[in-house]
């Protein structure tokens, strides 16, 4: 992935992030020619994603339990912007690269596009509800998000024959981590007995994020039917997208609690 930002182990270490998987072992395992697309999905979920459930749940939970409106709006400013950025990137992918996407997925991606744009609206509404706004917001405060949300198109375009596999492995994959995080937010709101608007918004988004992740799992299940395709998907997800995403989310967690976003 020449010319595309990747995260170094030193950067991860600096922010106390542990990669809970051995990418080389995963690449070896998914090279098994007998493995099916469905088994590949199960393998990734069991051996990689699930290891992060508690950590991301905890990040969502502690953020709200801090019971600090300033921290909440700080987090939401980036969140609202990210929804717009994702809708924009997805729009470009579905518009300009549709011939490289399985037509059976058109309506699913269009549904995701509509939902991302809707999330921009409801997250912004929650932000305003708690007294926040987007004035002076600078997305460069956490460049990893830009690298991920804009860079994914560069990653996908590098091999147009596998555009869809590369795209979902670079972006839809991180939607898996939203479910535990948003569940943590919802549970914390319930525990505190306040922030009901935030709770309702995150509850709604959580359901949609599960669907957005499913575009990755559906693509892998249907199209990752050879070791080569599985290696492409695993390489992008494990060596590029997830480390970048983990670093971006950790920075966001820390900076939001300091009300610096």
């Amino acid at each position: 992935m020449s010319g595309i930002r990747t995260v170094s182990p030193a950067e991860l270490q600096e922010w106390g992030i542990e990669l809970k998987y051995d990418a080389e072992k995963v690449m070896k395992d998914v090279s098994d020619p007998k493995m099916t697309g469905e088994e590949f999905v199960t393998y990734l979920e069991q051996n990689v994603f699930k290891k992060y459930w508690d950590e991301h749940y905890s990040w969502g939970y502690t953020w709200v339990m801090k019971d600090d409106v300033g921290a909440i709006t700080s987090w939401l400013r980036l969140g609202a912007w990210l929804e717009w950025r994702f809708a924009s990137t997805l729009g470009e992918a579905l518009g300009k690269y549709a011939e490289y996407i399985d037509p059976e997925f058109y309506s699913l991606f269009a549904k995701q596009l509509a939902e991302e744009a809707w999330h921009w609206h409801i997250r912004y509404k929650a932000l305003v509800h708690y007294g926040g706004n987007m004035d002076g917001f600078n997305p460069n405060i956490i460049p990893e998000w830009l690298d991920l949300f804009i860079g994914v198109l560069d990653v996908a375009k590098q091999d147009l024959n596998h555009f869809q596999i590369r795209f979902v492995s670079g972006i839809n994959v991180v939607e898996w981590f939203s479910e535990p995080h948003h569940q943590g937010v919802v549970d914390a709101c319930n525990k505190l007995g306040k922030y009901t608007v935030l709770r309702d918004v995150f509850e709604e988004i959580k359901e949609d994020e599960r669907f957005h992740y499913s575009l990755a799992s559906k693509t892998w299940a249907k199209h990752c039917d050879t070791p080569e395709k599985r290696r492409i998907a695993a390489d992008i997800a494990l060596n590029w997208a997830i480390p970048l995403f983990l670093l971006g989310r950790k920075k966001r967690h820390v900076l939001a609690l300091q009300k610096k976003i």
Binding site: A98, Y106, H121
Partner: protein, 332 residues
């Protein structure tokens, strides 16, 4: 990457010249009447496959231009989040309609339509020059062509399943149009007078009209089912007669200047009841809601409504036997 484009530069240039002396209506009518005649004068079901194929191509194109609009200089729309979200819904409505059409095509032929080569060719040429406004106005024109195709299929296709898809798209169409107009309003004052670029119109016209051969040799007129709708005498005593035909077609039958006409019962503009409209001498009908005026003989719009624009009115052949008026409904 895509292969060679379907359009060569000479043809494109020629089409660009054509647009200079065309108005939007001039593009709408040939499309409506070409499809109407093609459906009426082509026996068999292959013509339906072509129609559904073209609608599917248009929906794919509409999905792509809308999605591309969302990914192109979006900061102009972004301050209005609901509008931005509505644009996402437009892409979804196109994609969902396309899915219905693909399913219908598979039901008929056993084959599943893939990504449309025409949609790719046209989109890839549009994107060479398109800005956000051009994407939005092109999408509007695509929605219009798709609506015409859906309407012509509804009235002259002679297939119940096609009618169901057409009705589904009819629900989407006004929402698509309103959303696009609201987005376009952010750029220009006169939304209705704003057309896509010559480049985009030419490409769309090419894709839409390429299904019509240069020389059309009409086969026999498709089989019509003659359905009795009223007594001839009724038309002498009443201004017009409303009739529900076969449980799906709302029609109006009237006698003007001694000639009997049968037309669809709802205004194509905003579905007002045409039976309360005014019939004038010379065989014209004025809708009571927004004063759209139609020629009863051809369905042509002679005056557009005060708000928006109207599509051609569906008309049906009339036959008189045993003192009864019968109208001809396509049966395939």
């Amino acid at each position: 990457m895509q292969g060679e484009h379907a359009l060569n530069n000479g043809k494109l240039e020629h089409l660009q010249h054509i647009k200079n002396w065309l108005k939007l209506d001039d593009m709408i009518y040939p499309y409506w009447f070409a499809w109407k005649n093609k459906l009426l004068y082509s026996e068999g079901r292959e013509v339906l496959h072509e129609l559904v194929g073209q609608m599917s191509m248009l929906c794919e194109l509409g999905m792509r231009t809308t999605a591309a609009a969302m990914g192109t200089v979006p900061e102009k729309i972004v301050p209005d989040q609901i509008l931005f979200a509505s644009l996402g819904e437009v892409a979804k409505r196109f994609a969902d309609t396309r899915l219905m059409l693909v399913n219908l095509y598979e039901k008929w032929t056993g084959e599943r339509l893939g990504s449309s080569k025409d949609a790719s060719d046209v989109f890839n040429r549009i994107k060479e020059h398109a800005d956000l406004l051009d994407y939005l106005t092109s999408t509007k024109l695509i929605a219009d062509f798709c609506y015409l195709a859906a309407r012509v299929g509804f009235f002259y296709g002679g297939d119940r399943h096609l009618r169901e898809v057409a009705v589904a798209y009819r629900q989407h169409y006004p929402i698509i149009l309103t959303t696009l107009n609201r987005c376009i309003e952010r750029y220009v004052e006169d939304v209705l007078a704003t057309l896509p670029s010559i480049h985009s119109i030419s490409l769309l016209m090419y894709a839409c009209f390429k299904v019509f051969p240069e020389q059309f040799e009409a086969s026999r007129m498709v089989k019509l089912e003659w359905v009795p709708v009223c007594e001839v005498d009724e038309l002498d005593s009443r201004r017009l007669v409303k009739s529900m035909v076969q449980g799906w077609l709302e029609t109006l039958i009237m006698k003007v200047d001694g000639k009997i006409y049968a037309i669809e019962g709802r205004c194509p503009h905003e579905f007002a009841d045409l039976s309360i409209g005014k019939v004038t001498k010379g065989g014209r009908l004025i809708c009571a809601d927004h004063y759209a005026t139609y020629m009863l003989s051809t369905g042509t719009v002679t005056t557009h409504p005060v708000i928006g624009s109207a599509k051609p009115l569906a008309t049906f052949p009339v036959n008189i036997s045993d003192g009864k008026v019968h109208i001809g409904i396509v049966s395939r």
